[in-house]
Amino acid sequence: MYQYLLKRIFIFIPTLLVISLLAFGLSKMAPGDPVELFLRDRSGDVERDLINADRIYQETARYLGLDKPAFYFSISPAAIPDTLHAILNPIHQENLRKLIQQYGNWPQISGWYDNIRILEYEMAALPPALATGTPARNVKANLRQLYVNYQDHKISSLLGQIRQGMEQDSLLKQSLAAGFTDLMQSYQRVKSQKTRQLLYVPDLKWFGLNNQYHCWLTNFMRLDFGKSYYDNRPVADKIADALYWTILINCWALFFSYLIAIPIGVFSAIRKDTFYDRFITLLLFILHSLPNFWIATLLVVFFTTPEYGMDWFPSLGLGDLPKEAPFGDRFLERSAHLFLPVLCLTYGTLAFISRQMRGGVLNVIRQDYIRTARAKGLSEQTVIWKHAFRNALFPIITMFAGVLPAIFAGSLVIEVIFNIPGMGKLTVDGILSRDWPLVYALLMITAVLTMAGILIADILYARFDPRVSYSSKK
């Protein structure tokens, strides 16, 4: 038994690591520049000067831990330097990577990149009278384009346009000539001193523990999930708030479905093949197949809007009675708001559980010891409830684990439709507002909770069913 438990927990850990890799990998592939996403609601429309903008960008990137390498190691061509992650802007980084893939000479390419930056800073330092002229603006726009272009013909034409723009204004030409010549020369060097052979040499780069994944995982263990891009609140706080609602509605739903499902299952099993049984089976089957988001939509459409005269339930959300209101009022208000969501969550689980319960009881009733019990002259009630029912309960316990993922998914749907601020609503809102730290923390937490649920169910099963022996598998 304990050996089995240890083994289960031992298996639990690598599975979790794989899931964490999956979640982290997905979050790295998410679109958009994390720094921009983080800054978007804070910066407003203030046009900052270049130096300030650069400083803020770098500080934010460092704050978000983006100046670290992504993983413990990377395997890439030797031409790609192990410091490429220090280029904080992901768009620049990607562009440089493409340049390296063409020419393979990082020292020259890095010189080219530095020269673009130097020229940009020189432009920022120009006197305002000069900088606001049309030629200067054109030069600036073309210079910015150099950051995101990697094809030879495009870069050449951009350089040509910059030269033309500088020709139009002699003062501009004078102040930028030196920087521009350096830029041209560095590009010539990139093209002439190719080291493409480096592209074909595999190179393992070891970054050590100070990397983004390691930090993310260790923070995760300390329940620090980072900050939301959306409102800068700690993700952990947001999740804790949401978890309360999800657990609340799901506990009620589970409670009601077990409460109703078990008697239904037992009765239709002992009255097998009667009209009652057939009717219940059909009904449960229909309930099981009814898509819950359809039912939820129907309930919302017909019972919460005044259009059809059946406006019996308050509209979406949770109600807004203040905390000082008497408990009774608050309870009534909450119940009215939660009735429909809990109903939607209940009916599907209910159908599933009672079908299982029926099968379980039918299985047990065939056994010899039931026949023995009947032969002893025990009353039918005793046989059913004391012998059959108890033994049929075991599969229902394990099913608790099977129901868990379905519950999370189901409540995602219901929460979105009924506007309940639970985990599901949080996920969908996070996706729609591109709040990636939140979304992938939620993915991890849901997986952990589900796995923990399965583990607990297994332990319960092993603890309470004397027939299960885990000493050896075969």
Binding site: A30, F293, V301, L443
Partner: protein, 437 residues
């Protein structure tokens, strides 16, 4: 002599009968399946749905099936196919007016004379099925109402049928491919039967690594810039070549006993762990978080991703079946004849394990359709010009008084899902091993 002949004839007949009984496993299954009336009716309804999906363009289309205009005969619906491939072009007169505005000499309209995207300006802002509609004849009524832009809901339902069927077929093809392969490996080899020589293992890992490195890491520029399909083929070719060379080298090096020593790989354990990982994340959540990071929304991609997530139940079915099959006599016979494990697996073991997979596929299609409808209900991952059941249902949330938007699309989802569930149940009953005797 005579008696002997008679006996022989009897024996032959008896053997023939017995053979018929033995070979007709498929026939038994079919007979059992036919006993389940609900499942049979579901199958018939499924044929109807497939028919609607295939001929959607001929059922709901703003173009006439046949028309005569200025003395010339056209088959506009058919012709649209030619136009789409670039083999034909429309005359300018068809651009000047919409299809409904011409004065045809003779015309045959489709059953629903609207395309899913057709905007009927006279019936905008949610016109119900029973309300008075501003249409020129009964044929042009919006039988299931319209949405805010005046698009016909019935036409949208027909196009949604096509998408739903496509979701089922594509996602489950992907899922079956992965599930059968992984499940078969786990079930057939178990924890103790996958033996591989040391050198082959090392060389294959090395070749896989080098193949990926030279196929993808080095060539990522070419993959991004060149023609994607062609470059991808080249990259895959590099990997295959690397693996081939590795195995060739391994065969040569097998001469040395130190290299040729066998290692056992616990296939079952590894694959069951992978399945556990997939099962411990709710499919909907995983799907959402994968679809969210894709910039270009494409419904085909969503279908493929559903397949990538939902292969686990298929793998479990085939694993269980192969665990049974692998200890049967005919497999042992094949092994004794010296066939390679790969050949036994693919030629003899998997074909006999495929029937029960149908059950998993039927239930899988139902859940795939549900997943996709919910995604489009949230309008995540579905391009804006595609009309699906989920999207129509979502419109009802925006405008609750349009009850037809809440009822019909949901009913379609429910019916389709139920049909597949019933077929799945029927198959389960028909394939139940207890009934086989």
């Amino acid at each position: 002599m005579l008696i002997g002949v008679k006996n022989e004839q009897q024996l032959a007949e008896h053997l023939k009968q017995k053979e018929q009984l033995n070979q007709s496993y498929g026939a038994i299954v079919r007979r059992q399946f036919r006993k389940n009336r609900m499942a049979v009716w579901s199958l018939r309804l499924l044929y109807v749905l497939l028919f609607i999906a295939l001929s959607a363009d001929f059922i709901a289309n703003e173009r006439p099936l046949y028309c005569k205009l200025d003395g010339k005969t056209y088959f506009p619906v058919l012709r649209q196919y030619l136009v789409d491939v670039g083999l034909a072009e429309w005359e300018s007169q068809f651009f000047q007016k919409s299809w409904h505005e011409h004065n045809y000499e003779r015309v045959v309209w489709p059953l629903i004379p609207y395309s899913p995207q057709t905007i009927d300006r006279k019936n905008i802002n949610y016109v119900g099925p029973g309300e008075s509609q501003r249409v020129r004849s009964t044929w042009f009524r919006h039988w299931l109402g319209t949405d805010q832009l005046g698009r016909d809901v019935a036409a949208g339902m027909i196009s949604g049928t096509r998408i739903a069927m496509l979701v089922g077929v594509i996602s489950m093809s992907v899922a079956t491919l992965i599930g059968v392969l992984l499940g078969a490996l786990a079930g057939y080899f178990g924890d103790d039967r996958f033996k591989i020589s040391r050198i082959r293992l090392i060389l294959n890992i090395l070749a896989l690594f080098l193949g990926f490195f030279y196929g993808f890491s080095v060539r990522s520029y070419a993959l991004n810039e060149g023609h994607f399909g062609w470059e991808l083929t080249k990259s895959l070719g590099i990997i295959v070549l690397a693996l081939f060379l590795a195995n060739l080298l391994a065969r040569v090096l097998h001469r040395y006993p130190a290299f040729a020593k066998k290692i056992v790989i616990p296939m079952d354990l590894i694959i069951m762990r992978i399945i556990e990982v997939f099962n411990s994340i709710p499919a909907l959540l995983l799907l959402l978080s994968i679809v969210a990071i894709i910039d270009t929304s494409s419904i085909l991609l969503v279908m493929a991703i559903i397949g990538l997530i939902r292969w686990t139940s298929i793998a479990r079915f085939i694993r269980a079946e192969l665990l049974r099959i692998r200890s049967l006599e005919y497999i042992e016979a094949a092994q004794a004849l010296g066939f390679s494990e790969v050949r036994i697996l693919f030629r003899h073991a998997i074909p006999n394990a495929l029937t029960p997979v149908l059950i998993a596929i039927a239930f899988g299609i139902a859940s795939a359709i549900l997943l996709e409808s919910f995604l489009s209900f949230l309008s995540i991952g579905v391009p804006p010009d595609e009309v699906t059941w989920g999207k129509l249902l979502n419109l009802a949330r925006i405008h609750p008084s349009a009850w037809w938007l809440a009822v019909f699309p949901g009913l379609a989802i429910f019916a389709t899902v139920t049909i597949f569930n019933l077929i799945g149940e029927g198959l389960t009953d028909a394939l139940d091993p207890r009934l086989k005797e």
